[in-house]
Symmetry: C2
Subunit: 672 residues, 2 copies
């Protein structure tokens, strides 16, 4: 990194590229004071800022690798920036706050009008972030997420839950620019990255961040590799995952297991059964919710211990469910309360959080005793010792910021975004302590910087059970691609979506299209949704179960290829699902594509995500010859083509010269 003095300012240059230009007339650094107002309602946040001061640091003085910044020459220094090299291509800007009153920071990085920007965690609506701003705050992602739709309107009206394009369970203050650099901000505070301006990207952070890291590379794959090293890589997938689908069933013991047996009898390859109701249920107006008291419900699953053992003998695993909260009316709550394991309010009482018609205490993971207790009593004793092989480690986005105090003494506003990786780390450590890393599979929707290191598998959260633009099937692809660029190699989703509200019901078509996509992701898992009885289920008719059976066989068939991708993820940090442009960086047409992906380097998937279509238009990247898996048609890349797209034949293409061609060619012959 070079620091060049120029008239009235300086430039920071990395790899011949101007990252930032600062002059008295066009300052790149601003500091200030803001008074935010943050309200939480069931994981949906209303956030307003009142900026009291925003001071341009027009005056700069460069001393060796240090920059002193002030309002003008006569006023006191507000920030000292220290440049440090991480490698010949990578650098860090350390930021030292000189004025303790400051709680707002803005920096403008150089940009070109035509730049593309990707990342910012798991973004569900827009893959290329250019032209929009992205508040970064882990939260419920919203129901509908589009202010022009009826379901968003009704969700906003009744539950403050409609959401918008930027709401996500997993934000992260990290982005990749098409200028071949990545920028990461070391802060867990609320942030807002604004990519709307033609000349600069303005990053807003609600504290003075410790540093900015800048990585440059000659290719996007190299950038991904660097970020995956920086944030941590995941263990390889457990061997049992490759066996087929994980069936999500929550009807209690008899219902769940009999339906699984029926599926197996119909030819479905089953890797596991996931009973999120293993700890019991609670009826609310939203639908059937779980009973948040994380231990085996002998009432709902009387023979679970033996069941798990006998299933394992058949190479079928049992998966459960857990969240970082305990409901007030459960058995574990009074124990944890007595041990002071919860976050507290001003009065020192347990700070209760409303999860929708029931209240919970927040297990305070900044308290080492809480971590130990949760690991030992819940995860190890109640789950691993029972024989559970995986679980949804749900939530993590609900840490309130008002009247909530943590053991480590840090403001909840700064811990809110830090919470998901803290929660992930408790899970990962509990597993590691038992020597089961890579054997146990938990999956999370909530995330933030560091999730990569602890969470072995992302899940895309709660989509609507439909094809809607901002909350349907296609958003899962956007989520996989954006999070994948930042070092999250494994991503999957609820097959069929989750949220059914205000008359929105899952159809057979939605379910089957979702199966088609999930076949080409690292893990297949069905979900009954929030209102199972009102929504289409995998075993509701003969043709759907046959279709699922066939697709699970295709998934199994691809095991050698998927294992190859898993090795790549392990060795290089490449995600299994990749945006087209990382393999075709010369072809700018690929830079904005967010509803197709490379499943590894060799397979291109273009899931159908609209209702009632019989054909589908796909972009095939240039300088490659492609083979349509379903009919062996050969097509030159660099063009849009329209192909037949019946259910069970999601548009799928491989590179003609792929070493996996034989494996791919065999796909159409796989029957249910």
């Amino acid at each position: 990194m070079k620091l060049n003095q120029i008239d009235h300012g300086f430039q920071i240059i990395q790899n011949e590229q101007v990252l930032l230009t600062h002059t008295s007339f066009n300052p790149a650094f601003f500091v200030g004071i803001g008074n935010e107002k943050i309200d939480i309602y069931r994981g949906n946040f209303s956030i307003e800022d009142s900026v009291v001061e925003r001071i341009p640091l027009k005056y700069s003085k460069v001393i060796d690798n240090e920059i002193h910044l002030a309002y003008d020459a006569m006023t006191s220094t507000q920030l000292i920036i220290r440049l440090d090299s991480l490698s010949p291509q990578d650098s860090q800007l350390f930021i030292e706050q000189q004025n303790p009153q400051l709680n707002r920071f803005w920096i403008r990085l150089a940009a070109q009008q035509e730049d593309k920007v990707w990342g910012c965690g798991e973004q569900m609506s827009y893959f290329n972030l250019r032209g929009r701003h992205f508040p970064l705050w882990t939260s419920e992602p919203g129901v509908g997420r589009d202010k022009t739709t009826e379901i968003t309107f009704l969700s906003d009206k009744h539950n403050k839950a409609g959401g918008d394009y930027y709401h996500t369970n997993y934000p992260q203050p990290t982005f990749i620019s098409s200028q071949y650099y990545a920028c990461h901000v070391n802060s867990t505070s609320y942030a807002d990255f604004d990519f709307r301006h033609p000349d600069y990207h303005e990053l807003q952070i609600w504290e003075i961040p410790k540093s900015l890291e800048i990585y440059t590379a000659l290719s996007f794959l190299e950038l991904i590799e660097k970020l995956s090293l920086r944030f941590g890589r995941q263990p390889k997938l457990p061997e049992w995952i490759y066996n087929g689908v994980i069936l999500g069933l929550k009807g209690g013991e008899e219902n769940s297991f009999s339906r699984m047996e029926h599926a197996i009898a119909q030819g479905v390859s089953v890797a596991g059964i996931w009973c999120e109701d293993w700890a019991g249920i609670r009826q609310t107006s939203f639908g059937k919710r779980l009973f948040w008291d994380w231990k085996w419900s002998k009432k709902r699953y009387p023979n679970l211990d033996n069941k798990i053992k006998s299933l394992r003998e058949r190479n079928i695993r049992f998966l459960a469910y857990v969240s970082p909260y305990l409901c007030e009316d459960g058995e574990l709550y009074p124990i944890a309360k007595a041990k002071n394991l919860f976050a507290v309010n001003k009065q020192g009482e347990v700070a209760l959080v409303d999860f929708g018609e029931f209240n919970c205490g927040v297990l305070d993971f900044t308290n080492p005793e809480t971590r130990e207790w949760v690991k030992k009593e819940i995860i190890q004793k109640n789950m691993l010792d029972l024989g559970v092989s995986g679980w949804m480690a749900d939530f993590g986005e609900y840490l309130p910021t008002n009247d909530l105090y943590l053991h480590n003494g840090i403001d909840a506003k700064l811990m809110h975004n830090a919470w998901p990786p803290l929660w992930a780390s408790v899970n990962a450590e509990a597993i590691a302590e038992k020597g089961l890393t890579g054997e146990i599979m938990f999956f999370m929707r909530a995330g933030f910087t560091g999730t990569q290191k602890y969470c072995p598998m992302l899940w895309a959260g709660d989509q609507c059970v439909d094809f809607s633009r901002h909350d349907g099937l296609n958003t899962v692809i956007c989520g996989a691609l954006s999070s994948g660029l930042l070092g999250n190699a494994y991503h999957h989703s609820d097959i069929g979506g989750y949220t059914s509200l205000f008359g929105n019901r899952r159809t057979k078509e939605v379910f089957e299209r979702w199966v088609d996509m999930a076949t080409f992701t690292p893990m297949m898992r069905t979900h009954e949704g929030n209102r199972p009885d009102e929504n289409f289920q995998f075993d509701q008719d003969v043709s759907t179960i046959a279709h699922l059976a066939r697709m699970t066989r295709i998934y199994r068939h691809l095991t050698p290829y998927l294992k190859h991708l898993v090795n790549e993820a392990s060795e290089k940090g490449y995600p299994v699902q990749r945006p087209l442009f990382v393999h075709f960086e010369q072809d700018k047409n690929t830079y904005d594509i967010q509803d197709q992906y490379m499943y590894g380097a060799d397979l291109l998937v273009s899931p159908v995500h609209k209702q009632g279509v019989t054909e589908w238009t796909v972009y095939l990247p240039a300088q490659e010859t492609w083979i349509n898996v379903w009919n062996q048609q050969e097509i030159q890349g660099g063009q849009y083509i329209t192909v037949p797209a019946p259910i069970g034949q999601p548009p799928l293409f491989y590179r003609k010269n792929s070493q996996w061609a034989e494996l791919f060619t065999a796909i159409p012959s796989i029957s249910s």
Copy 2:
């Protein structure tokens, strides 16, 4: 006004009251630079600001009556404030901008948690402004104006037109505090007055305003009197107004006049007929719109000239319609274009504005030639010479701010808010030049500072044809009260409301309740609405027309009292419709009431504004004995009472000792 130096700052004190405290630690003045983005869609504006700098002017130096303000002692002065007395109780703070780059100004005035605030023009949703902020920008007021209602959602979705609580045709940067002062900001730029903070009111203005005016008084009536002198008073109502209702009819000559004759035959007292379609019509998806080519349509009204004459002999006046735009496809447009009377775009071409499926040129009232032409050719020749006695002078809120250039060279962003009073002044001057002031009655919905002086009558704009909280009947009262405090003595509304969209239809009940209210306003006028055929009309059934007939007789009966109020308006600037608190300032219960009003000092009106009610709860102010007009019941004030409220008997009370008691007592005996 006193300027007191205190440690690290100063205080400004008026009438023993601290208006403002400024210290280095808590500055009251901020300046900065912002880049706004203003988009217009059919009179609905999307306004976003990006504040680049917001500098607290912590350093102050007082020299006599001057204050020099800077960021700190070593940096250059940004503002000089000069204090000037307007009277022993009233002052002006002149503000001199020292740095030409500044385009944002914030000032914090001292406030107490319990303060009430009123004004800011014609506010339709909230009378007491405390606890909210109010962007001040003249625009369409919105359809629905409540993000939780279906009609607002659909209006937003289809027309960007849903609006919110603060949208108004008539904003004004002036407010009255319950601390017995009024504050007016001398600026026409976008502003946002924020009354949310317990300790201060923060006024934001998108330029450095020329000055702030502060008025103090010992009573609210005295404050109103001062403001009405400051902004100008209206001429007295024309004598013909008192004759009864003005019937809004727009079915062309035969339809309109025959329906008027039918109404008269049924006993309706008619003061005038208002045919807004006098210049022709145009069908759009919104409904029947007018043809914006302001001259008599001989096709639609073949015998209008003679009709007007014969009506006048019967003491019935004819009213028309005009707006400050000309449609591209009209006859006047090419004439005005040839004379360069329109605002232009960058290319020097007429800047066309979309009014909803048709485009218009904007008559540039900053051009003296435009003013002369509009006055002479449109208002005097086409309207007054035809015998027209009044008109709706519609619109004025649509001045675009992008790519629009005006004759006076001032930025359209600064002229946007100035436009409604400019448009009013053209109307007022045209009338005055003919010696007809006080004889001709035009009415406007758009307004801003100065409207008081030129516009003889406000009309509340386009309500929905319903009882909805934020866009129904009751909002008209809020509009009358807030605008009335700032010197607009005369206010009325479309009887029955105007906007019928998305299945929202006017009912008989809505129409009749609206008649009941309008009887106790300075002017009664019906409107067919935007979709006459789908909505209830006054002559649709026998009982409604009989009811209207009776209420017009009550209106006529009250003429002596209304004339007394008109005299008060003329002499003291008191509005005809007044908030309860101006007459009962000791009774704090009255300070938030926005659905009742004093009709002059002696009559209290509490219009029914809900569906299907048979009784109504009314607050009667303390320290007064009240008589229920309808049953002569005597009630002590200082309490809520519930009274029968059938249609035709709007809750109505007079002060027991009123000199008008005899007149009021006779009301129940008036029949249709």
